[in-house]
């Protein structure tokens, strides 16, 4: 992916090491899919049902979309050496705004704009706390994380909120609809990915973000407005979460602020890390982050299909994630392979 261009590469590394970052998450994804194929016969079947592609592999891509969008935004924020814990709350608020404004009878295109506007406001708030006031990102975004779902509930209460469900051809079309048998949300996600990629990789912003994440003081001295860059990163992240919120809310056509997208921040951070991002900042791998989200969803779908009792789900997920991260760790790989190589480094 493009991310490798800007990645500082130690001189001592041999050229073939360059491949590795992309290889390990893809290998993990392949391994999960192969094991699922053995455990659940017919896992790879894809057919057309109701005019749309239908099958487990489609489900994985389909269900990974919201997580992938959130993770893309998270990758940008993590690139600044920050973190955004409030993405789940941003989704809850977005969903509550959608249900509320539709109940109020606004045109649905306006509702979509309002929902994304609400998400942007969440980003501006986080950006203000982190870049404006200089509060530690984990604490700054924790504020919205704990209050956001409450705000969502309050929005539901604006119209009674006992049955916050709605019907919307436009929003459901964007989320659960299909175009040429392919789910619409994939086109939507691809467009957002492309837009983000252009902003990050075809303007100087990506370089600025990575320089701020690498060393904010040095970036500042070099003439980069570190505070502005950080602010923009949080707004971008919230906007990505807002789109995920639109997809998730339209998916179930209901606003459920208490439980929608619960723990999505953790999945998003995990996707960034599986994709080779470092919480120490300074790197943004957009493409690999999407692979990371696919790894997580492939795992979730595989467990659901396998018929494993639900008590084991999270434990199995944790073990597999640990395995993937071990695969990615240079140190762990070296420790495992060095006795067989017969030469010490």
């Amino acid at each position: 992916m493009m991310a490798e261009q800007t990645e500082p590469r130690p001189v001592a590394m041999r050229p073939r090491m360059k491949l590795h970052r992309a290889v390990w998450p893809l290998l993990a994804l392949a391994a999960i899919l192969i094991v699922s194929g053995i455990v659940s016969p017919g896992f790879y079947n894809i057919r057309i049902v109701e005019g749309r592609l239908f099958g487990n592999l489609i489900d994985i891509v389909y269900r990974a979309t919201p997580t992938a969008l959130v993770a893309l935004g998270m990758a940008v924020v993590i690139g600044t050496k920050g973190i955004d814990l409030s993405v789940g709350s941003t989704i809850a608020i977005t969903g509550a705004v959608i249900a509320w404004r539709i109940q109020m009878g606004d045109p649905h295109l306006v509702v979509l704009m309002m929902a994304l506007g609400a998400a942007t406001l969440c980003g501006i708030w986080n950006g203000f706390l982190v870049a404006g006031l200089g509060i530690q990102p984990i604490i700054a975004t924790l504020i919205l994380m704990v209050s956001g779902r409450g705000i969502g509930l309050l929005i539901n209460l604006l119209y009674g909120g006992t049955n916050p469900s709605f019907e919307s051809a436009l929003l459901q079309g964007l989320s659960t609809g299909h175009l040429m048998s392919i789910p619409t949300r994939l086109f939507l996600a691809a467009a957002i990915f492309l837009a983000l990629w252009l902003i990050i990789r075809r303007t100087a912003l990506g370089l600025f973000i990575e320089s701020v994440g690498g060393n904010a003081a040095a970036a500042n001295l070099a003439g980069v407005n570190a505070r502005l860059i950080t602010f923009v990163a949080y707004v971008l992240c919230a906007l990505c979460a807002g789109w995920a919120g639109v997809i998730m809310t339209a998916d179930t056509h209901t606003s459920d602020p208490v439980s929608v997208a619960m723990y999505i921040e953790l999945d998003a951070i995990l996707a960034v890390v599986i994709g080779g991002g470092s919480l120490a900042g300074g790197r943004i791998h957009l493409g690999m982050t999407v692979i990371g989200a696919l790894v997580i969803q492939a795992l979730t779908t595989s467990i659901l299909i396998s018929g494993l009792p639900p008590e084991y789900n999270l434990v199995v997920k944790a073990v597999v994630v640990l395995f993937v991260l071990l695969l990615q760790s240079d140190n762990a790989r070296r420790a495992i392979t060095s006795p067989f190589r017969g030469r010490a480094r």
Binding site: G42, G150, S165, D256, V258, E311
Partner: protein, 304 residues
């Protein structure tokens, strides 16, 4: 608003409270939180029917945290309320605070969930629905409807939660009486619409479009609503191809029942204030030994 107006309003408000306190019974109610559709409806009903019974209700939302709840109960004790109602967040850790209430001679009533205390005299009674009975009712309806032959997929509530455990037990207790009834797939949908939809999507694939499946049993309506959406998107007809039975009877499932997309829902009554308050008021008038569990009856609703 002018500061004076606010102040004046506050004085008038305080006066109103003081006036009502003089005549009415004061009851403190510590609620779990406001998750899902059912609990906010339950809270609203408790507050509304308190007015009807002339009760001065002090309502505290614990936001799902036990420490918040313990603090609320201690505040009620300090205020010297006539009775305390608790909908416990968790079952354990109640001995100390309930002892404090007992020493202050304030009777404690449990609603909804149970507590695990050694000394059962620490609370008067628990007034709640019986999750196990709800599961049994769902199972009994399905056994009748399917004439005792049915392959079932189950959408469980949050793994390890009391309603999930009890509804499953109750349901299984009934269907185990019928050799041709069995649960062929079961997964947790975490009591959410999103969770129910994801799990049903997976079931649809793992059972080849629900081939041979006669029913979907969901531990709550929200998950069933998600399952209905997943089935419709896969071109299946919920309610016709597959019998849909769930628990809670929330407003959205009423619409689904009317549309024939759901078949039955066991009502977890949210309008229970009219059931709970008379028991408490009678006890306050003349304290007598009550059963440790007073079950609020459950009703099963079908499309017609």
């Amino acid at each position: 608003m002018h500061p004076k107006t606010i102040f004046g309003g506050a004085v008038a408000f305080a006066a109103t409270i003081a006036a009502t306190m003089a005549s009415a019974q004061t009851i403190g109610f510590s609620q779990v939180g406001s998750e899902g559709d059912w609990r906010p409806a339950f809270s609203a009903n408790m507050q509304e029917s308190a007015k009807e019974f002339g009760i001065d209700l002090k309502f505290a939302n614990a936001q799902g945290k036990q420490e918040e709840q313990l603090r609320a109960v201690r505040a009620f004790i300090a205020q010297g309320v006539d009775a305390i109602i608790v909908a416990p967040v968790v079952v354990t850790g109640w001995d100390q605070v309930l002892r404090e209430a007992k020493e202050a001679e304030i009777p404690v009533f449990l609603v909804d969930r149970d507590v695990d205390v050694e000394d059962k005299t620490l609370y008067v009674t628990r007034i709640s629905a019986d999750f196990n009975l709800e599961g049994k009712l769902a199972g009994a309806w399905l056994a009748t409807e399917s004439k005792g032959t049915c392959k079932i997929v189950e959408l469980q509530g949050t793994t390890g939660s009391a309603p999930a455990i009890e509804r499953k037990k109750g349901f299984e207790a009934v269907i185990s009486q019928f050799p041709a009834m069995e649960i062929v797939a079961t997964q947790s949908g975490d009591f959410t619409t999103e969770g129910g939809k994801k799990v049903m999507e997976a079931f649809i694939k793992s059972t080849n479009n629900l081939d041979g499946i006669c029913a979907s049993f969901a531990h709550n309506d929200n998950m069933q609503l998600g399952a209905i959406q997943a089935m419709k998107e896969a071109g299946l007809k919920p309610g016709t191809d597959v019998q849909m039975v769930s628990v809670d009877y929330v407003p959205a499932i009423k619409d689904a029942l009317a549309a024939g997309e759901a078949n039955a829902s066991v009502e977890l009554r949210s309008a229970v204030g009219g059931f709970i308050y008379p028991i408490i008021l009678d006890y306050l008038k003349s304290p007598t030994e009550l059963d440790k569990w007073i079950v609020i009856p459950s009703d099963l609703h079908t499309a017609n």
